[in-house]
């Protein structure tokens, strides 16, 4: 055996041994990891290939050589497939490997080329050489096909590795990727030369030794695994990665302040390139925010650490970046100070937000302070905040009102009612948010306000924010008051002056009747009786008209009103007026509503009087008061089974002096329902009626829309 052959055989055997070691190493690192297993499979291809080639070169005859080359083809015919799988896994394309079709296609492809060799379609002959055997390809075509096969797959691997390198964030990842590019590239060139191109050109000087060249690649993988922890994740690796990629700037310095290393964020913050910081002094790039000097570093060296200090990073371009700085000395194994680790958090955005917030706060504060309406917040019945206008409106000094009980500021007539409503609103009840309210000033005077409530969160629990407008002195209100005064004067005048002539007509008619009775016939007396009846009816009309106008003007005092009790009382009074009538009153229990008691009584009186009146012609009657739900709100109703009305005239019911029955049939002035309507409207509700001739009528009304 000559030396060349010995070297050749030994190198292939060594390659085989290294591959076996690498397989053990990779599987030992993590026997269950898919990437480790695929890597081991790839290495197994190389090992089989290497071992078979040992025997191939040692073969005594061409026939024996053919047998070992066919054995080797198990490796060289199939290796590009597991190699591609490995690269796919490594570059994070593991989804593809979960696709069975893709895996099966790879296996088939590898088997196809092994089979081609075994069928005698690839390498067909051998030439005896001093180092063993050189190979002879079946022809250009099979050679090109095989070359395309492995070149394409390995090319894909290189492409994947380049892509990984481009996207890699840490230096470790980049180094790994580069190793994975260089390995196959070198192998591809050398292996193609030795195993394809030289044999094709019938140059037999160099043995087909691709599997040895592949050692470079495999060695690279081994190095990557050893040096950079490829295919394993260790805390130290993670820490290095985190330090490199973290958002905060990290600087390591020696005890004398000379910077040893800086992470990417530090370089970015200071506007430096890699390495530019090394050797510079910490106190020349980071200074105390207030003094602009190295005060904080003196403090650091005295105390051993500082944390959350406001500092300025002096960037390369001369600008200063505000940071929050923490630093500490680190000690070596012997416990001696070894260096300084510094973490700086960029505060630029934080400062900007803080400034924006402060500006916004100033803006809203000014808005609230100068608002023309009172604004306040109360919680658990106590006023916690009041703007100057609210304090002024309630007659307090600007700060004097905070801490006062809300209940004491509400007019006694409305206090319980409003407080109950406020509690229900905070509990999530759909209570009205805006309404008129009489408040009490510090000196006890009443102030008419329009108040709007909103439930908000304040100091972590529900509170009510109020906006209060003084409507007592608004222009419109003054005008209304003036108009009311004029109307009062007018009413007074009407009541006095319009009635006086009626008194004369009635009085002198009576005098005429009394004094000239004996000189008048029955017809004459009848005429005078009619004159008197007409004047008395007109007096009633005047009275009712005045009543109607009073309803519109009367001050309202809100409280919870028991409508059921009121209806029962009125029913009792009606029964007393005509005890002989057979009328059954049915009054629903528990109907209460917020409103003005005397006005609501007027509504019920009018409605129940009506029912009483229009059932008078029926021998038996039933009058009902109750509540139904209408659009989610209570609608109160009075139902009777009396004369009813034609729905065609329903619109006329509530017009003053409009009557659907003539006075001879049912007496009345036609003002009762108009009065009821005005009262209901003043309570923010509406009134409507349903009826049918001789079947009865129902009058509904709601309060507070």
């Amino acid at each position: 055996m000559n030396v060349l052959r010995l070297v050749n055989i030994l190198s292939h055997f060594t390659a085989f041994a290294i591959y076996v070691c690498l397989i053990v190493f990779v599987l030992h690192k993590n026997p269950k990891g898919l990437i480790n297993r695929i890597c081991a499979l790839t290495l197994a291809c190389f090992a089989v290939w290497g071992l078979a080639v040992v025997f191939f070169h040692n073969a005594a005859s061409a026939g024996e050589a053919m047998f070992w080359l066919n054995m080797a083809s198990l490796g060289w015919g199939s290796f590009p497939v597991p190699v591609l799988w490995f690269y796919l896994l490594f570059t994070g394309h593991d989804k593809l490997l979960k696709n069975r079709l893709f895996v099966a296609a790879g296996v088939l492809l590898a088997a196809f080329f092994v089979r081609l060799q075994w069928a005698g379609c690839l390498i067909v002959d051998f030439i005896r050489q001093p180092y063993g055997w050189s190979t002879v390809w079946a022809g250009w075509l099979p050679m090109v096909v095989f070359s395309c096969y492995y070149a394409l797959l390995i090319g894909a691997c290189i492409f994947l590795a380049i892509d990984l390198e481009r996207k890699a964030r840490s230096r470790r990842e980049k180094s790994q990727a580069r190793l994975l590019i260089a390995g196959p590239l070198i192998t591809l060139c050398l292996g193609s030369l030795s195993d394809i191109i030289f044999p094709a050109l019938r140059i037999g000087v160099i043995p087909p030794a691709a599997v040895v060249f592949i050692l470079v690649w495999a060695g690279g993988l081994g190095y990557a695994i050893f040096r950079y922890g490829l295919m394993t994740l260790t805390p130290a690796m993670a820490a290095a990665d985190i330090l490199e990629t973290m958002g905060d700037a990290l600087l390591l310095a020696k005890m004398d302040g000379a910077i040893v290393s800086a992470n990417r964020a530090a370089l970015g913050l200071l506007g430096c390139g890699a390495g530019e910081l090394t050797g510079r002094r910490l106190d020349s790039v980071i200074v105390d925010e207030k003094s602009g000097g190295p005060a904080l570093w003196r403090e650091m060296s005295e105390r051993g650490w500082i944390t959350g200090r406001d500092a300025i990073c002096l960037a390369q371009n001369g600008s200063g970046v505000p940071v929050s700085l923490s630093a500490a000395t680190v000690k070596d194994k012997e416990g001696d100070p070894a260096g300084v680790v510094t973490v700086a958090h960029d505060m630029t955005e934080h400062r900007r937000l803080e400034l924006d917030l402060r500006k916004s706060e100033r803006k809203y504060r000014a808005l609230v302070e100068h608002a023309l309406i009172g604004i306040g917040i109360h919680q658990n019945g106590v006023l916690l905040f009041a703007n100057p206008k609210l304090a002024a409106l309630l007659g307090y000094a600007p700060e004097g009102v905070v801490g006062s009980e809300i209940a004491g500021m509400i007019h006694p007539d409305e206090r319980d009612f409003v407080m109950a409503r406020s509690r229900r609103r905070q509990a999530g009840g759909g209570e009205p948010e805006t309404y008129e309210l009489r408040l009490l000033k510090k000196d006890g005077n009443v102030v008419h306000t329009l108040i709007s409530n909103a439930v908000i969160e304040y100091n972590g629990s529900p509170a009510t924010m109020i906006t209060v407008a003084d409507i007592g002195d608004t222009k419109a209100r003054k005008e209304l008051e003036l108009a009311n005064k004029e109307l009062e004067a007018f009413s007074y005048s009407v009541s006095h002056d319009l009635r006086a002539p009626l008194r004369s007509i009635d009085g002198f008619s009576q005098a005429f009747l009394d004094d000239y009775e004996d000189r008048m016939d029955a017809q004459g007396k009848e005429y005078l009786r009619r004159v008197r009846a007409a004047s008395q009816r007109m007096a009633r009309l005047i009275d009712d008209l005045l009543k109607l106008s009073r309803v519109t003007r009367a001050d309202m005092s809100y409280r919870q009103v028991d409508l059921s009790a009121m209806a029962k009382a009125i029913a009792g009074e009606l029964k007393e007026t005509n005890p002989e009538r057979a009328v059954e009153f049915v009054v629903a229990e528990g109907a209460t509503a917020p409103g003005d008691a005397s006005l609501l009584r007027a509504v019920l009186e009018n409605l129940l009087n009506n029912a009483w009146k229009y059932t008078a012609r029926h021998p038996r009657a039933r009058i009902e008061f109750g509540v139904v739900e209408q659009d989610g709100r209570p609608a109160y109703f009075v139902r009777d089974d009396g004369a009813g009305f034609d729905m065609a005239y329903a619109g006329k019911l509530f017009t003053p002096f409009q009557r659907l029955h003539d006075s001879a049939e049912f007496e009345g002035t036609g003002i009762g329902l108009a009065t009821a309507q005005r009262i209901v409207r003043r309570h923010g509700g509406r009134i409507w009626a349903e009826g049918e001739v001789e079947k009865g009528a129902v009058f509904y009304f709601t309060l507070q829309s």
């Binding site: 007074y492 009541s495 009576q510 005098a511 008197r532 008395q536 007096a539």
Partner: protein, 149 residues
């Protein structure tokens, strides 16, 4: 017939006639002094103007006072009567036309001794005046001033 006179302060001649008639119908036959406006009423009561030198020892047993009067209106007349020691205790019955006027009167409730609303129905007016006259002229004790006079 005693000296108990009734004073009627009323500007509407129809109302004067009807009131006189109502009093007559109620069999109240006392002497009746009529004033057509507030000023005239005060002149009579304080012995001024056309009534200067009148014997102020003679005062009406009751004054029927309308509220809406020319020159000086009813409430002002009432206020002045109550402000003067000589007339402070004179019984005054206010004649009103409406509830509006009664509301007005509420502010002076303590100063008027009583009020009646002039109903349009004459027969009811007669009845009201009759009861009123009976009360003030027959049942009510006269104020001390008259008794000593």
């Amino acid at each position: 017939m005693d000296k108990r006179i009734i004073m009627l302060v009323e500007d509407n001649p129809d109302d004067v006639d009807l009131t006189l008639r109502a009093l007559k119908k109620g069999n109240i036959l006392n002497e009746i002094v009529i004033a057509r406006d507030g000023a005239e009423a005060l002149d009579y009561l304080f012995g001024a103007g056309a009534h200067a030198g009148r014997d102020l020892g003679v005062m009406p047993a009751v004054i029927l006072l309308d509220l809406k009067l020319p020159k000086i209106e009813g409430l002002e007349v009432l206020r002045r009567l109550r402000a003067d020691a000589r007339t402070r205790l004179l019984p005054v019955v206010v004649l009103t036309s409406s509830r509006e006027e009664q509301d007005l009167l509420n502010g002076y409730a303590s100063s008027a001794n009583s009020y009646i609303r002039k109903p349009v129905d004459f027969s009811r007016f007669v009845e009201a005046v009759r009861q009123l006259g009976m009360y003030w002229l027959l049942l009510n004790e006269l104020p001390p001033l008259q008794r000593t006079a």
